[in-house]
Assembly symmetry: none
Homo-oligomer: 137 residues x 4
């Protein structure tokens, strides 16, 4: 029996990113925005003019992380604090696991089909942009 | 004099993994399960359908860690908290040291001959699956 | 519109690996055997007793490569020789691209749903084991 | 005196990528397409549905390479063959230097302001898509 898994198309990814760009612009805080598919692989990325260079990698890896654990990076971050059950998880996966706000799984029909990652502002800003992105999916 | 060290065979590793698969299924929480030998090198790995992608690396490295320090990763985690004697150890070994529950050394005749690593659920779930695996050895 | 892609199950991966183990045993040359899914992520791996330690990574990355380019690593290798169109591709993807025989895409219904990678012997041996594995799919 | 360097905006990058998408579609060969700025840092990336997973990294790094040396990767490739003056350059920069066709510098007013990288087909296909992209700049 062949398994079949739903995943995100480039068209969907572009719509998600456009929503994130709009929210980022509203905030006046330039962001990097990335979308990965069900396999955790990059589908699309944009860096708004003036956004942090260090956030290219972070946005891509927030998206990776949100799909890799089917969990928002903000929530994973709570579980990854000292003394908590996943403390140290940020050292795994060759340093690709991001444990602060801005990565959100994208779901359809109750299944995670990809994820969006945002980086460039404060945790609250990144989270708001990622939520706007996820809402557009 | 030539040293000789006991290590785990592929047959043993498969039995250990089968026990882990059964426990994971009982819990209804899909896991990644890995076994390493006395040299800390991978013998076998399985990812149950639907288990977290980010847990592939973690399961393998929990097993590596448990053999690398002949210590359960849960116990190493206690020693690796801020202020404790091994704080920071997760940055060593190119990020391969996992400091949360789910990795257990496999012993025979009082010697560590390998280790099992489990990842895919909560710390308690991963630990329970790893204990079921170790019991089958 | 949500895309849906076929991928390989753990059950299928185990059957593929069992066929590879049998062929490896027939040859008397112990192998590492790995299977990845449609996303290029590891589903299962075994190292037959006595197989090369350096082949753990190679088997996994041969499988990754065969899916990453939907091409057998043997054929990719021909295109990656000095003077050929993909010379230098082995430096990409953080060194995960293997350009010698032993990695084969797994197809069903005309679509690549994963791949198998074999390492532990000569190129001809690895290729024969991988072909036996793919035939069992 | 403060230096000022011209670089590419996200708007320009999107136009370049749209032209590449159109050419890729005309060819019927799905591509990964990436644009980097004057600093060699990623501005935008898209993976057309069905394009090779291994080409994500390659498209980004072809763009990086074309800007890093202000040279098309096809031309750098000629200089990087065994016996030539840059043989071995693909091992530098942590494996980010791509030495086969598909990466082209983007120039304005005689200055390189960024680069485009394309991966997903043969060398000739990637080059044609990258040229279409560069022409749109």
């Amino acid at each position: 029996m062949t398994l079949s898994i739903p995943t995100i198309s480039l068209d969907d990814a572009k719509r998600v990113i456009a929503a994130a760009e709009a929210e980022s612009s509203t905030q006046g805080q330039p962001s990097n925005i990335a979308v990965v598919d069900a396999g955790g692989n990059l589908v699309a990325h944009v860096r708004i003019d003036g956004a942090w260079l260090g956030s290219i990698d972070i946005s891509i890896n927030k998206a990776f992380t949100a799909r890799a654990f089917d969990t928002a990076t903000k929530d994973l971050g709570d579980l990854a604090q000292p003394g908590e059950q996943f403390y140290g998880i940020h050292a795994s996966n060759d340093g690709r696991v991001m444990i602060f706000a801005g990565g959100i799984p994208l779901e359809r029909g109750g299944q995670v089909v990809g994820a969006v990652g945002v980086s460039g502002g404060t945790g609250d800003q990144d989270q708001a942009v990622a939520e706007a992105a996820a809402s557009a999916f």
